[in-house]
Symmetry: C2
Subunit: 119 residues, 2 copies
DNA sequence: CCGCATCCTGCATGATACTG
DNA sequence: CAGTATCATGCAGGATGCGG
């Protein structure tokens, strides 16, 4: 999803969205098909690139790398490179990323309670 | 954002995503650029179509109608038509929609605490 | 093993015109 | 006022091939 209110907005949008700025910000850093699941998967412990990829199943390498870079840029995850052969890279939550976990947990509860089948 | 795991998934994706099914479901019903803000705006009381449109500022009529229909189809909002001239339509949260409010509130808090400027 | 570069496609959204 | 219909478009994400 593209970021909200960067262009084409009018004064009402500016005024009103300042009130709900936090919602828009959270939505922006979480925009992306796989980010909720990635954060959820990193919740218990750090994970390697291929662990995440196998967990997500359907994601392409290009997309996974992109989502991980965005999460890193937004300060939600750490990326640690181990100079080994073959290379090893481990991802983990930052404190900012951990602050999103309650949101994700609530979403999980909501879906368990209200979710029907997706098809 | 398109719905996750409807096609092209492999067995891992099925197996693993069942664990996090709720997250995916919540993400699906909330997919759309304006839905969080619409739900937040409906939180205090029911609102008319044009109230929502003015609040959001930048949205087009076509997009707003589409998002409202999706929210209605997913059972998050009610749509009440008053047979007047000119016509009046009021939208309000269902109990299912209200169940999402804690999530939105947490996102607002998160953004207030961690958000930088969007540009 | 963990990427990056490139190309391609679908879909969400916007723009615009029209209507009961 | 609250839509519907149609068309245009930008961008997220997938596919594929190559690289340290």
């Amino acid at each position: 999803m593209s970021r909200i209110c960067q262009d084409g907005y009018d004064d009402d949008c500016i005024k009103e969205n300042r009130e709900v700025y936090g919602i828009t910000y959270a939505q922006n850093v979480l925009s992306g098909r796989w980010k909720y699941l990635i954060l959820w998967f990193l919740k218990p412990k750090e994970r390697r690139y291929n662990e995440i990829k196998n967990f997500l199943g359907g994601i392409s390498q290009g997309s996974l790398t992109k989502q991980l870079r965005e999460l890193e840029t937004d300060g939600l995850i750490n990326r640690k490179i181990y100079p080994e052969v073959p290379p090893r890279v481990e991802y983990s939550l930052t404190s900012k990323g951990e602050a999103l976990i309650p949101i994700i947990d609530l979403m999980e509860e909501f879906g368990k309670k209200f979710g029907e089948n997706l098809d």
